[in-house]
């Protein structure tokens, strides 16, 4: 390569044609972050830009962008990439992915960086539309589920009303009482449905604190040991030695464990077996913090397993609102974790919550960064 070909300001016609014909934005910037060359595609979208700072043209800013990939390339001569949002010459938003690579002169001095960017605005808009459609779909599903729960409650109220009126007709006090109790029960169900529904719909980021997972488990054991022993169910914590503290939302995890443990106790009650047991385990495996809630109760059959994480699905007849496991999954996913279940009908079930430590740490850093400058409770 001749000296002139490596100096971007002195390219000959052949390079110029090539440079202007490529179907992406190409700019060459110097160590001052000034654009010394830009191709036609760039001019068309961002406007004319000789010797102006790249951040002024790309983003209408007065200072360098955070995480600038060109700066990184000047630092280590390597290729870097990042996703950015710029402002076009008509003021429109332009989403682009940019890659930067080193441009060295004949003496191998890194004098310039080439930035090659692709406009991904149409793709972003499409993604946004898909997300919106998903949100609407979820709303539809939730409304359908809510309608179903209300239908069930109405059925109970209809029944109570009917039995009370039969009792009055026949002057049967026992029947009146029975019908009245049905009415009361179903009024109560409305209250708990509304409560669960509100707590589910409350979308919030987990409030992460460094906590001891073993301690969270022990709190749940304390909470349930009396209920369990009353039904002669053994409730056993198993906390592995290797479990370290982790950034978790203690009240969120408390809700998850409460839901899983109360389900496990219900499964034990529904089984005819003797010697039923619920184990709450916490352990660590390859950088993943794992909570397990295991029971040897009635188990879950295949058909129901397909539906348990669905809104308002319940097999507990009058007892459940069908939101427990859904809320649990939501909290876990907000922590960047996953939930799974292993079960066979009649043989008990094991629910597992997996929290990759790396993801927890990322979220923790994000949340401490966000909380700087604004109070935690502000909306």
């Amino acid at each position: 390569m001749s000296e002139s070909s490596t100096n971007p300001e002195q390219w000959d016609d052949g390079y110029e044609i090539l440079f202007n014909s490529v179907p992406c934005y190409v700019t060459v910037i110097d160590r001052d972050f000034r654009i010394v060359r830009a191709n036609d595609a760039f001019h068309d979208s961002f406007g004319y830009a000789p010797n102006i700072h790249c951040y002024e043209v790309y983003k209408h800013r007065d200072t360098k962008c955070r995480g600038c990939p060109a700066e990184k390339t000047f630092g280590d001569s390597k290729i870097h990439r990042s996703n950015q949002v710029g402002v076009g010459k008509k003021g429109q938003k332009i989403y682009y992915t940019v890659r930067t690579s080193a441009l060295k002169d004949v003496r191998r001095n890194l004098t310039h960086v080439i930035e090659i960017s692709n406009d991904v605005t149409p793709l972003r808009k499409l993604e946004e539309r898909v997300r919106q459609a998903e949100r609407l779909g979820a709303v539809g599903q939730t409304v359908a589920g809510l309608a179903h729960s209300i239908k069930n409650i109405l059925m109970g109220l209809e029944g109570g009303k009917y039995i009370v009126s039969l009792g009055l007709e026949k002057n049967n006090k026992e029947m009146i009482n029975q019908g009245w109790e049905m009415l009361e029960r179903n009024f109560d169900k409305t209250t708990s449905l509304v409560k669960d529904f509100l707590s589910f719909s409350k979308g919030r980021l987990p409030r992460l604190e460094i906590v001891d997972p073993g301690k969270l488990v022990m709190e749940i054991v304390d909470l349930y040991k009396e209920v369990a022993s009353r039904s002669s169910i053994e409730l056993a914590p198993e906390i592995d030695d290797g479990v370290r503290s982790a950034p978790l939302d203690p009240s969120g995890i408390h809700t998850c464990l409460t839901n899983l443990v109360s389900n496990a106790l219900d499964a034990c009650l529904a089984s005819d077996k003797k010697g039923t047991k619920v184990t709450i385990r916490v352990k660590e495996k390859k950088g993943v913090l794992i909570f397990q809630v295991e029971d040897n109760g009635s188990g879950i059959d295949y058909e129901i397993k397909k539906k348990i994480f669905t809104t308002f699905f319940t097999t507990k007849g009058g007892g459940g609102t069908g939101l427990g496991l859904l809320t649990t999954r939501k909290i876990i996913e907000e922590h960047g974790g996953t939930i799974s279940v292993v079960s066979q009908s009649g043989k008990g079930a094991r629910f597992e919550m997996h929290f990759p430590r790396k993801r927890l740490l990322e979220l923790y850093r994000q949340s401490t960064r966000n909380s700087k400058g604004q109070p935690a409770n502000s909306k």
């Binding site: 599903q141 359908a144 589920g145 309608a147 179903h148 239908k151 069930n152 109405l154 059925m155 109970g156 109220l157 209809e158 029944g159 109570g160 009917y162 039995i163 039969l166 029947m175 029975q178 049905m182 029960r185 179903n186 529904a270 009635s298 059959d301 058909e303 129901i304 539906k307 669905t310 699905f313 097999t315 507990k316 007849g317 009058g318 009908s345």
Partner: protein, 172 residues
């Protein structure tokens, strides 16, 4: 049929309140009633004594209504028992696929929760081809009409419905 000449209805539902309600309505209408809280219990009871009709919920623990129904169909004698599905899931994703499987074969009808006791009894009497009062006949006809209308709306092309609505609005 039970010994006393009354028809015997089996009510299968996981909710105690629903069982109590439907049982009271049926006894009041002069039926013999047995209840089961899930499909497993129901099957054991059917094996002991055949009911004349089964009133069935769809989504239940242990053995769902759909599963129970399929087991009934496998059995020569049991497959003739008429079934009334009483469900809250008729029109959502949880029950829809189950329901589609069910209505394809065998005798039966479905009712959507909440049901009125008089409609419930009328539907059962109509399936059992029992003498019904004119009122009851009307009620059961009404249920059939309403169900077929709901199905038609569910399956209708949304565009056509919108056009229809516009047309009707212009007329009035």
């Amino acid at each position: 049929m039970a010994d006393n000449g009354k028809k015997k209805i089996m009510v299968v539902d996981d909710e105690a309140d629903v069982r109590t309600f439907l049982m009271a309505a049926l006894i009041e209408a002069g039926f013999d009633v047995v209840v089961a809280q899930d499909g497993d219990v129901a099957l054991r009871m059917i094996a002991e004594e055949l009911p004349d009709l089964i009133s069935l919920d769809l989504v239940m623990p242990h053995k769902s209504g759909a599963k129970l129904y399929h087991e009934l169909l496998k059995h020569k004698e049991w497959s003739k028992i008429p079934v009334v599905i009483v469900t809250g899931h008729a029109r959502d994703d949880l029950g829809k696929s189950d329901l589609k499987d069910l209505t394809m074969s065998g005798p039966g009808i479905y009712l959507e929760k909440p049901v009125k006791p008089e409609n419930y009894v009328a539907a059962i009497k109509s399936i059992l081809k029992m003498d019904t009062s004119t009122e009851e006949k009307e009620a059961s006809e009404m249920i059939k009409l309403r169900n077929s209308l709901k199905d038609a709306i569910d399956e209708a092309d949304k565009g056509v419905l919108k056009k229809l609505k516009r047309l009707m609005e212009n007329k009035t």
